[in-house]
């Protein structure tokens, strides 16, 4: 435990050092904007960060710009849908819909996933087709079912807006707003959406407030026994692609095979994190389960066989799934509820920027 605390502290020190160094290296004119956002420090109970922070140094002005972009519906073709329309903070940046709802009432093919701890992702989307956090924003932006806006048009809108031009120029210097600046600013916001302060986190880090009830502890033990083979580490995912037995065939969505074109990948989807899972219903890539008890019932007795079904869901006695009694499911449910993290769900930093926030002192200094 003490060792864990130390890692956390050292980790923080290192990140700050890195930020400070780069801050000094940065242009003097914008130095006052380079206040670190401190958002990407690695929590003690997390594995190492995957995202290359050095290529997009966190600073307050860029984070705020990213937040503005994230909540700006003008980026969609008809001005009605922002990233935040589908990714709502109170639902851990999901939308409560089975399939996401884009411009003109169009439905995406998939369920909106939570946005949290994205800096630890090795790939994005349920099929892993997107290979970087910056690149990820291009998919919803340009998808006809989502924001339906060609990138060139989005950039033209930003360049036509004096306020955006001023804010981008203050960070990236004069010149047109182009793809890299746009994507990097957005990624400063999305990469800052970190969930590491649930009651469970406090429990494993032995922090104040970190108590689990007896049923929750039983649930944790069951989880470690039955679920953590896939929902691994304190990120609750091993980032692999697995078939968790939802279907026998995959005519509508073949998951990972859509990208790899390999039959062995048919029906495999990225193992999602279970942080804030009590808030992210409905569940699975197509939102087929409305509640957590339905999910648990699926694992207990709804798993369907197929060639690519994950071996962890085949019991030695030939039974499929993860046999669990009703009491065990109750305990698991209690445990899953301890993963709810208000520091993500209610943090005003992640909320839509208010008009007042747009005229914060950080920006007032920009003209100087």
């Amino acid at each position: 435990m003490a060792a864990r605390r130390r890692t956390w502290w050292v980790g923080q020190r290192i990140s700050w050092l890195l930020l400070a160094t780069l801050g000094i290296a940065g242009s003097a004119a914008v130095a006052h904007l380079r206040r670190p956002a401190a958002a990407l420090a690695v929590p003690a109970n997390f594995p190492a960060l995957v995202y290359e922070v050095a290529k997009n140094q966190p600073n307050e002005a860029t984070f705020e710009l990213g937040r503005q972009l994230f909540y700006d519906p003008r980026l969609s073709s008809d001005g009605t849908i922002s990233c935040g329309s589908c990714h709502q903070q109170s639902r851990a940046f999901t939308d409560g819909q089975a399939l996401a709802l884009g411009v003109a009432g169009r439905r995406s093919a998939r369920n909106t996933p939570a946005l949290q701890n994205l800096g630890w992702h090795r790939s994005f989307m349920a099929d892993g087709g997107v290979r970087g956090l910056e690149l990820q924003a291009l998919a919803p932006l340009t998808s006809p079912q989502e924001m339906n806006e060609p990138l060139a048009d989005a950039l033209a809108k930003l360049n036509a807006d004096p306020e955006y031009r001023r804010r981008f120029a203050a960070i990236y210097g004069p010149g047109k707003i182009d793809t890299p600046q746009f994507l990097k600013a957005l990624a400063q916001f999305t990469s800052a959406l970190i969930s590491a302060d649930s009651r469970y986190d406090k429990y494993v880090r032995h922090e104040p407030g970190g108590t689990l009830t007896a049923p929750e502890q039983r649930g944790l033990a069951l989880f470690q026994q039955k679920c953590s083979g896939c929902h691994a580490t304190d990120l609750f995912t091993d980032e692999s692609f697995r078939n968790n037995g939802l279907d026998r065939t995959f005519p509508v969505d073949s998951g990972r095979a859509h990208i790899s074109q390999l039959p062995a990948d048919a029906g495999r989807f990225r193992v999602p994190s279970l942080r804030n899972v009590a808030r992210t219903a409905p569940y699975m890539h197509d939102g087929r389960f409305a509640t957590l008890p339905e999910v648990l019932a699926h694992y207990a007795h709804g798993v369907r066989p197929s060639r690519t079904l994950d071996p962890l869901l085949r019991q030695p006695d030939g039974r499929l799934g993860l046999p669990m009694s009703a009491q065990e499911q109750q305990a698991l449910l209690a445990f899953l509820n301890t993963l709810t993290d208000n520091s993500l769900l209610t943090n005003p930093r992640f909320a839509p920027p208010s008009v007042a926030a747009r005229h914060q002192p950080t920006l007032a200094g920009v003209g100087r």
Binding site: G132, E134, L138, L183, Q261
Partner: protein
Amino acid sequence: MNNRFPTLLGLLVLPLALFSSCKKDSDTLDSTGSVNFTVRNVAGAQDLALNTTAATTAAGEKFTVSTFEYYLSNIKFTKADGTTYAAPDTYFLVNQEKPASLSFTVPGVPAGDYTGVSFLVGVDAQKTGLTDPVTFTGDLNQANNMYWTWNSGHIFLKLEGTITSTTPSKPLTCHIGGYTDPNNAIVTAAPAFNGAKLTVQAGHTPQLALKADVTKVFDGPNPVALSTFTGAHMPSAQSVQLARNYAAGMFSVEKITTE
């Protein structure tokens, strides 16, 4: 895409070149030149006019073209002795709709007589596989709409239009890309010089005039019947077939001019 720098350099080194004309090209200053490429997109014997030209495949099937775009990259020049010069960081997007894109200049080519050229039709795996958006500038910028947002990587060739030889006619969509096995669609084209020479020297910009025949997307080692063709939209075995077709026969050298 036009590179003015070599012209300026040429003007600067011209006097030097005059005085040292008897020396070998060992002088670093005047030892490189530029090569200007032009591309003429055609459909068989006709110039390609978007939405108008009736293109005909070897099997007699017909289509019109509304969009025709492709990347030429990793340009490499070969000398008679087999030595090569790979021009660094050469990525050009040719778009039939944008006349300026039908001509581009490769600077810094070592002086000498070249007997061949090759290039990728597409973008190399290393480049297109990058994830930092700052690496995609100019023609590689995703704002050019030649990038798959749901399966990170560039679209190497985009051919859209209408198949008109079927009743009713049907839309034609070929978006070819993919850079990992088994559906790696990165192909190399090496249109022959047929004995001609490309002479590169400081202060001159020889022109390499290429012709690209759109019908060769379907004709080639893997002929594709348009009547049953359902399009290519993602990395797939079909995309690889089409890529092998255009690698084999789409490009030819029309003319080499050394001013």
